[in-house]
């Protein structure tokens, strides 16, 4: 084949270049999505199930024991994706591929602001009536008086340790956060890998350095924030792992790679079930070290782009029905949202142990929240979510 210089190939390049430019223009003018903050109207009437349901949830929330009866009852086949962090859940909801999510307080506000979730008509969820009253109309599930979800349950982050390797049994977070005490377990400490952990440091400082004036560990001005960040930078030298998947932490404790860390009841039960020598702050202490603990109060929220909204409503009603809510609460190890669930738990003392009906207890638990610039006391100089995320990268180094 003869080789000739092909000038019209230049034309071809121009065409190609034009196509690329076209793509760039598309990107620039790309529809700013349907983001009205609000995300649509509430469903007025419940229709038939659509046969499928796509959920994002925390590990342990959607398990076959209670999912199979739900599927049999409603015909909605459940596809569940486990999220490791709230960040991940918010991002997944943004894709519009899921019908609902079990959102913690540091996700719910962002989901509402992004228009990724719709208001929920609580009249369509009969079991909502008997939910504990201190879970209703809270700032993390009700926005401008509009309900955005159904409470699932709540719990505190646990301090867990390997009872063979760690003694005496700790009763304070200093075993992780005080540089001198934590150095005993250098390289064997397990820390949650999300910017929300900064609040744990802030809560610690609230107790040990009161002159910083920290009130709400999620509302921090420059000085308070820097103090918390510095504490965590010091902690880094002792950290063995930053975990973002529950199963990864379970494996690390089981292998002896870490000996003490912050965790959820889910991992604690799993390790106990495997016969591992783990212990956590006992029920007699209210599961809380003396500084208190951060925690979560989770809400099932409906996607504004849900393809199966009826199934989602059926799920929300089902998961807070007395039997199912008791099952998930006992499996995971959290306080159920449904007051009638307390009669259904296998362990009759469960609700008492977990303070399900004790609003006073939850005053010492700082639920995950989205940090905002608005400090809530008239000032606007608090660190916002972007600051927290950027700081977290700097902390890990």
């Amino acid at each position: 084949m003869r080789r000739k210089d092909a000038h019209p190939a230049r034309l071809a390049w121009l065409v190609v270049g034009g196509l690329v430019a076209f793509m760039l223009v598309l990107a620039g003018c790309g529809s700013s999505s349907d983001s009205t903050s609000g995300g649509g109207d509430e469903l007025q009437k419940l229709g038939k199930g659509e046969g499928q349901l796509n959920l994002i949830s925390w590990a342990g929330y959607v398990e076959p024991e209670w999912v199979k009866p739900f599927e049999a009852e409603t015909g909605c086949k459940v596809n569940n994706k486990t999220g490791g962090t709230s960040d991940e859940m918010v991002q997944l909801m943004g894709t519009g591929e899921y019908d609902g999510v079990s959102a913690s307080g540091n996700a719910s506000a962002r989901l509402v602001a992004a228009g990724d979730v719709s208001p929920v008509n609580v009249d369509l969820v009969p079991n909502y009536k008997t939910i504990f009253s201190d879970l209703k109309d809270q700032p993390y599930n009700t926005f401008d008086g509009v309900h955005y979800g159904i409470p699932h349950g709540r719990g505190a982050n646990l301090l867990m340790w390997n009872s063979d390797d760690v003694s005496p049994a700790p009763d304070s977070w200093d075993v992780m956060l005080d540089p001198k005490v934590a150095a005993k377990y250098k390289g064997r400490i397990s820390v949650y890998d999300e910017s929300s952990y900064i609040a744990d440091a802030a809560m610690y400082l609230k107790f040990h350095q009161p002159d910083l004036g920290i009130e709400n560990p999620y509302e921090l001005n420059d000085e308070q924030f820097e103090a918390a960040v510095d504490l965590l930078k010091e902690q880094r030298a002792n950290v063995g792992e930053y975990w973002a998947e529950a199963a990864k932490q379970i494996s690390a404790f089981a292998n002896g790679d870490v000996q003490v860390g912050t965790t959820w009841q889910y991992q604690y039960f799993a390790l106990q079930g495997e016969g591992e020598p783990v212990a956590a702050s006992p029920a007699s202490q209210g599961f809380l070290p003396k500084e208190g603990a951060t925690g979560w109060s989770d809400t099932w929220m409906l996607s504004s782009k849900a393809k199966h909204p009826n199934c989602m409503y059926m799920w929300m009603n089902y998961i807070v029905s007395p039997k199912a809510n008791a099952e998930v609460a006992e499996f995971f190890g959290e306080a159920p949202a449904q007051s009638l669930a307390c009669d259904q738990t296998a362990d009759k003392e469960f609700c008492t142990k977990y303070h399900a009906d004790n609003p006073g207890f939850w005053k010492r638990v700082y639920y995950w929240e989205t940090p905002l610039a608005d400090c809530g006391n008239g000032e606007e100089n608090c660190k916002d979510y972007n600051d927290w995320v950027k700081a977290w990268t700097a902390i890990k180094g």
Partner: protein, 295 residues
């Protein structure tokens, strides 16, 4: 018996072929249309879009991308020292991995090319290719279990008083070197094979010791192949985030991109520009060193 030239039938295929005959530009155009569209428009276009996205920002509460021009992301990258640390750590590790792989690969490749029998060569090629077919994730997992407190490495070292490296940067270096080794062995083998044995014999006949022959004949001729292999080991190490995540706590460029993408896409895009720039520089250098003429 005369053979007469018979004009071929004017089939549809021939008619269409006639269109292309003598029109190289049309041939090129037709050949390149589909792959061109894919690679240039879709792939390069996506990279271009990414570049633009790096100049946008994101609303802290709703996570919505704000399409206004801003240098905020680059500002953060330059001013916040942690990113320099992360980039340096990644590049340093990638370079170390490349060097390690070159050192381990060369003897194996040399043996395969110049010393092994024909049958041995075949066996060795298969032996080196096999790991490419085992799952990347499972290989990392294997190292993770070997490196753990109760794993093989400590089991072997503790009796003699030593302790394995555990998780951390050393583990990342070990695992990455392990993963990309076949990608270094094969190009070097190919390059060494291409060196005619007569050159080596000539060098020996002229009185050079094996070491001198290696230093002055073999290695310079094989060097472009080493560079070609290094493109893979360097680039694969540069972007890997799964290995650091599974066997260490350290943040590499890939980890920061992966974690930023969940809440700040423009910032992740800005971060992604760093490996692109590094690789373009690397590829240009590699091209000068002859890696691209290698086939």
């Amino acid at each position: 018996m005369a053979t007469e030239a018979v004009a071929p039938k004017r089939s549809a295929g021939r008619k269409l072929a006639g269109l292309f005959q003598g029109r190289p530009r049309l041939q090129v155009g037709a050949l390149l249309a589909a792959p061109g569209a894919w690679l240039v428009v879709l792939y390069l276009g996506s990279l271009a879009v990414l570049l633009i996205t790096a100049f946008w920002t994101v609303d802290p509460l709703s996570g919505e991308v704000i399409k206004g021009f801003s240098l905020e992301n680059f500002d953060a990258l330059v001013n916040e020292p942690v990113y320099r640390t992360i980039v340096w750590r990644t590049v340093r590790t990638a370079a170390l991995v490349t060097l390690t792989d070159a050192v381990i690969a060369f003897p194996i490749a040399f043996y395969m090319a110049k010393v092994a029998s024909r049958r041995g060569k075949g066996i060795l090629i298969v032996a080196v290719l096999m790991p490419l077919w085992s799952s990347y994730l499972v290989k990392i997992l294997s190292w993770r279990t070997m490196l753990s407190e109760d794993g093989v490495i400590n089991w072997a070292l503790n009796p003699i008083g030593l302790h394995g490296p555990g998780y951390g940067l050393t583990a990342v270096w070990l695992v990455l070197s392990y993963l990309w080794l076949p990608y270094m062995i094969l190009p070097i083998y190919a390059g060494l094979e291409r060196i005619p044995n007569s050159l080596i014999s000539a060098s020996e006949d002229l009185g050079a010791s094996p070491f001198t022959t290696f230093r002055r004949v073999i290695f310079p001729l094989a060097f472009p192949a080493v560079v070609a292999g290094s493109i893979f080991t360097f680039s694969l190490s540069l972007g890997d985030y799964i290995t650091p995540r599974l066997v260490s706590n350290s943040q590499f460029i890939g980890n920061t991109i992966a974690s930023s993408i969940t809440n700040d896409l423009p910032f992740a895009a800005a971060l992604a520009l760093i490996p692109i720039v590094v690789m373009i520089v690397y590829l240009s250098v590699a091209r000068k060193l002859g890696a691209f003429e290698h086939v």
